[in-house]
Structures are given as C-alpha cells and as structure tokens.
C-alpha cells in the first residue's frame, strides 16, 4: 500500500503550502515535547508530563480541518491538540512551569491548557472527562445557529468510561455537530488496549448510529482528508461522527515511565519510529512529489527549534503568580 493512493481527492484540493504548514506544525509539536522532556528531566517543570510525540498527525490533521472558532476538548496528553488549534508555545511553556504568563495564569498546568481565543475548551485530566463538555458545546452551536463544530479528543483508555456512551447517544439523538476522535495509541497507561477493550472499537460508535470509521493515524494526509469530510458533514447538520485514529505513543505514559519492557518491547517502539513516523511519512511524500527537499525540511526544523528555545527562555524568565492570586477565580 502506498500512502499516496489513499487520497487522490485530497491531493488535488489542498495546496502544497497547506501540507508544508502541517509538516511544520507536526515538527513544532515534536520539538515542543522534546523541550518538555528536557525541562522535566532537568527538574525545571513541576508535576507530570504526558508527551504527545508520535501522535502528531492526529492533532494536526484534524485541527487543520477546523475553523478558528470551532471547539476542541483535549486530554492529559494534550499539548499537541492545543498547539495544533493555535496555542502559542511561549504561553504553553509558561503554563507548564506554573507561571503567570501561562494560558491559565499557572493554575492549570500541563493537563489543563484552555484558551477561548482558539476554541480550546480545555484539556482534561479525568479520562473521558471532557466528552460531556464537547457534546454540550455542539449543542450550543446547533441551538445558537453558529455553524461551529466541536471535536472531542480522547485516548482509547476513555472507551472504558460509561459517560462516553451516554453522550454519543445524546449526540446522535439530537444530531449534534460533534466528532469523537479516539486516539488509539495502543496503551492504556501501562496496559495494552486489547486487555481492556472488548469487541471492535469502531463498532462502539456505530452502535449508536454515529457515522464511524477508523484511519491510519500516522498519515496526516489520510487523517486530514477524513476529518475534512466529517467536519463538513457535521457542519451541514448531518450529525456526529466517531473517528478512531490508530497511532502510537513514542514515550512512556509520562516522562518518568522509562523502563517499559514489561509492557512493550524496544523493538516495537523502534519499528513505529522508523517505519511509521508521521513527520517522516509526510516528508517522504512531499519529497517524492518534488514539493520539498531536505534543505527545506532542515530549515523548518532549525526555525522551529530556535522558536521553541526562545519560548522556553521566555517561560523560565517569566514570574510566578503572586500568592494572593490563590483565591482569585474560584467563582466568576
């Protein structure tokens, strides 16, 4: 199977600039996460860090199919979604370090980035915690006639939470413009998903009558093509969809999860990185099509790298919130 064969229609519709933009965004997420790993291991970042590296094609392919005012909800592994929806790395890093310049004034941290300006209803640290919120945003969009769409990102671990099935039922009953995006990165924390998930994943969405499909989550072109179709469908009032993106988490469950051989092999990790890397796959295709070459890729990498270094410096230098802020914003 060649990746190019999957989406001739998308190829004709989307400009080279758009694919290069997605390439750059995936590189941004990858290098953002490298900096997070660095900050964390240097003990500059408090708390927990759940890295998105390996899954970039899902966030980018889907968010690039959205309007700026469309909504997303994200997860504990949410840096990629927030960046792909338009968050700026400097304020992201500031939030990760608990600084006042962060998106949540340091009150949310890595697992709770939220930003109304980019339609980000918030990353959520309860597994499946945001499925109701995303469905409610879609309800508002329909009721208020704003033509917005809501995308609810969650990992395959959320398939174990009953509330997901409650809201998929509601979304289909009321034909809400919401897309449930299941990122199946194969591991529910430290357990292979096959040990926690009975039956077929896509069938769970289909059981409620949702339009349901599954895609190669490492191929941003396939993800984007599919997302564009599902978003358009939802925007036109044809109802919700369930999209399973098959992907892989390069790192452990969190940065501290280093010795992983009791649940997956190093060979498996290496195979995904060398054969199924989303950035490499798009780069190879762009090269084959003569749309770009290694000089351009290198220049994108070095530009993004210096952008990330600058953003990290900004966050490290930024002040912490003053202690008086602790009681601010408990109530509106």
């Amino acid at each position: 199977m060649t990746t190019a064969a999957h989406h001739p229609e998308a190829d004709s519709k989307i400009s080279v600039e758009h694919w290069l933009r997605m390439y750059r965004q995936m590189v941004s997420i990858r290098l953002f996460e490298e900096q997070v790993n660095e900050l964390y291991t240097r003990a500059l970042m408090p708390g927990l860090a759940h890295l998105y590296a390996g899954e970039e094609a899902v966030a980018v392919g889907i968010c690039e199919a959205l309007r700026p005012d469309d909504y997303i909800t994200s997860t504990h592994r949410g840096h990629g979604h927030c960046l792909a929806k338009g968050a700026s790395p400097d304020r992201m890093f500031a939030e990760l370090l608990g600084k006042e310049a962060g998106y949540c004034r340091g009150k949310g941290g890595s697992m709770h980035i939220a930003d109304p300006a980019t339609g980000n209803l918030g990353a959520n640290a309860i597994v499946a915690g945001s499925v109701g919120i995303a469905t409610g945003a879609a309800f508002s969009a329909k009721r208020l006639g704003t033509n917005q769409v809501a995308v609810c990102f969650f990992g395959e671990g959320a398939l174990g939470q009953g509330v997901l099935y409650e809201v998929m039922n509601l979304a289909q009953l009321w034909k809400l413009p919401v897309i449930y995006v299941c990122e199946n990165n194969l591991y529910t924390e430290y357990t292979h998903y096959s040990e926690t998930t009975a039956g077929d994943i896509v069938a769970r969405g289909a059981a409620f009558g949702l339009h349901a499909e599954s895609v190669d989550g490492q191929d941003v072109r396939v993800v984007h093509d599919t997302a564009t179709r599902l978003v358009e469908r939802a925007r036109q009032g044809q109802g919700p969809a369930f999209l399973c993106c098959n992907t892989y988490r390069y790192s452990g469950h969190h940065v501290g999860d280093i010795n992983r051989e009791y649940y997956r092999s190093k060979q498996e990790e290496q195979r995904w990185k060398s054969e199924r890397d989303p950035i490499k796959l798009l780069g190879d295709w762009l090269s084959q099509q003569k749309f770009a070459d290694s000089v351009l890729f290198d220049s994108i990498h070095s530009q993004v790298k210096s952008e990330m270094e600058k953003a990290v410096k900004f966050a490290i230098a930024a002040p912490y919130p003053s202690p008086e802020e602790v009681e601010q914003d408990v109530y509106a």
Partner: protein
C-alpha cells in the same frame, strides 16, 4: 394593601414561576432532564413549561444523569444557561465527576477564562416511604466543593427569589428542593419581580433564649418546635442560612451571641455534614457568648429505611427538637 400582596403559591408553583419568568427574560435558559417536558417531571413541578417554551428549550433526556449534566457544563461554557433537573437527590452521585471535577473547576483551572453559568435543580428529604436510594439529603457533598454554590430554599417566597438568582449567576449552582414541600407548602409570593441574594440568612422567627439554625425541610420543623417552646416559656429564634455556600456566617454568629444557646438542624447526615460545619462556625465565632455546647440534629447515620416507623425515627421532629431545646435551656 393590593390583592397581589396576598397571593399564595405552593413551593412547586413558585419554582415553576421562577423558571418561566427567567426563560421569558433570557432565551439562553433551557431545561434538561428526565421527563421534564410533557410529563412536567414525576413531581409535576415543571407542568406547562413545555407548552410555552417548546421541546427545544425544555428537553427530555435519556436516563443519563452524567451525560446530560456533562452536556450542560459544555453548553454553559459556550453561550447557553442550562438548568438540569436531577429527579431524586440520590442521583447526584451519578453526576459527581461532571459537577465536582468539571463544572466546579473550569473557571479556576482556566485562569478565569471559561465560565459555567448552570443550575442543577434536585431534591432532598425523607419520609416519603421511598427507601434508601430515593430519600437522602446529600447537599453537604456539593457544599464541600470550592467552585459550586449551594441553595436550600425553605419557603415558596425564597424558592422563587433564590432560583431566579441562581439562573442569573455566572457559576454552577446546585438548588435543592424538599420534595415533601412541593405541593404541601403554600406561602405568600408577590407577583412583582424580585430576587434574593445568595449568602444572606433570613430570620424566620425572632427570639431571645435559643437559636434554632435550620435549613430547607427543617425550617418548618423548627418553627413548629418554636411554637411549642413559646408555650413552655422559651423564646426561640429560627434562622435559615438559605445558602450553605456562600454562607452568611456573620448572621449566624450574631444570633448565637444574642441567645447564647444554639441547635443546628439539617436533614443531611449529621456526621461530617452541614450541621457540623455550621456548629464549628458558631463555636469559633461565638465561643465566649455561649452558655451551652452547640447541639446538632440531622438525619441518623443509617441508610434511610423503608418501613414507616423506622423511617420516621431517622429525621428530627418538632417534638424531638422541642425536647432538645428544653434540655439545652436547663428546663427538662
């Protein structure tokens, strides 16, 4: 005096009128719940609303408390003002993640950027022969969570004024109605527009020898006990905090300092409950003016039993409060 001043409504009529007025005033207000539309809820509190506002705004849901409460959180964040109906207060347990982890924390975690202007209406109270899963008074659970406001109206007048305030509030508010009062308790409700601010206790009966702090269903019990006490030569003051959060600590302390003796009554479980919190507030604020330890009276620490004589033994009565007050005043 104009005739309108003598208008009397039942508790249920007052709740319904508050909802209808706010729905006329603000098209963003909508109701979600099980059998809220044509059925008007099993308690018939909402009868007639769907005829005026339609099924777009009075929305029957599946039996999915977590799902539709979560949906309401998202809808509130994105431009609507949902009022969710949780039929029996015991069912709030099914909504706990949506309320305690989502609704209560969204504003704070987002650094004050997202708001959740929603109301959850639910019920409390035993003695309806409904057994252990349809009789609890669990308002202490929500009162424990920063970010939520909790309202406990005890009269039709308070129910209407406080519910209108709840719907206009920018925060998640939980509104507990004593289901025994819905159709049994009648009281004056002016036809003119009014609202009642949160965090303002109301002296339901002035007195000088002992303070009976009472909430919700216990207010009528306290007033009955106060009448018995008067006949015995003891002047009891009955004060109703009306909201457990915000809590009008100053008024409770002031009444305690005036009378020097206090019984705190609430139909929730006594252990770690509302009575414990209020007793502590009074002990801290009025210690040197008290002539007796603060006494607490709540539901017995047992699952509410079905058998009538057993169930009746679990809740304070006029007679038990009368006896406790006499003892506290050294008159037994």
């Amino acid at each position: 005096m104009p005739e309108a001043a003598h208008r009397e409504l039942t508790f249920a009529q007052a709740v319904r009128e508050a909802l209808a007025e706010e729905m006329r005033r603000d098209s963003r207000v909508c109701i979600f719940g099980e059998d809220v539309a044509e059925a008007g809820t099993p308690f018939k509190v909402l009868s007639g609303l769907v005829e005026e506002f339609g099924t777009e705004r009075v929305v029957d849901t599946p039996i999915s408390e977590a799902g539709f409460t979560g949906l309401a959180v998202g809808a509130a964040m994105t431009g609507l003002r949902p009022v969710v109906d949780i039929m029996f207060g015991d069912f709030i347990t099914l909504t706990m993640d949506q309320m305690a982890n989502q609704a209560a924390k969204v504003h704070y975690m987002s650094g004050g950027k997202w708001k959740v202007p929603m109301v959850m209406r639910t019920t409390l109270g035993a003695t309806r022969r409904s057994a252990a899963q349809h009789s609890q008074s669990l308002h202490a659970w929500f009162s424990h969570v920063p970010g939520l406001k909790v309202v406990l109206p005890s009269t039709p007048y308070d129910a209407k004024g406080l519910l209108k305030t709840a719907i206009r509030d920018e925060n998640p508010v939980v509104f507990f109605e004593d289901k025994m009062m819905h159709h049994k308790l009648k009281g004056p409700v002016p036809s003119e527009e009014y609202t009642i601010p949160f965090g303002v206790a109301d002296v339901k009966r002035a007195g000088s020898d002992i303070t009976l702090v009472a909430t919700s269903s216990m207010v009528q019990v306290a007033l009955g006990a106060a009448a018995l006490l008067e006949a015995a030569g003891i002047s009891a003051e009955v004060i109703d905090p009306r909201t457990t959060w915000p809590l009008d600590e100053a008024s409770l302390i002031e009444s305690a300092r005036k009378t020097s003796r206090v019984i705190v009554m609430d139909e929730g479980y006594g252990r770690y409950g509302v009575t414990a919190e209020i007793a502590a507030v009074i002990a801290e604020g009025a210690f040197y003016d008290l002539d007796a330890p603060v006494k607490r009276m709540g539901a017995m620490h047992v699952p509410i039993p079905f058998s009538p004589p057993l169930e009746d033994a679990t809740v304070p009565t006029e007679q038990s409060v009368f006896e406790a007050a006499q003892a506290l005043c050294g008159r037994s």
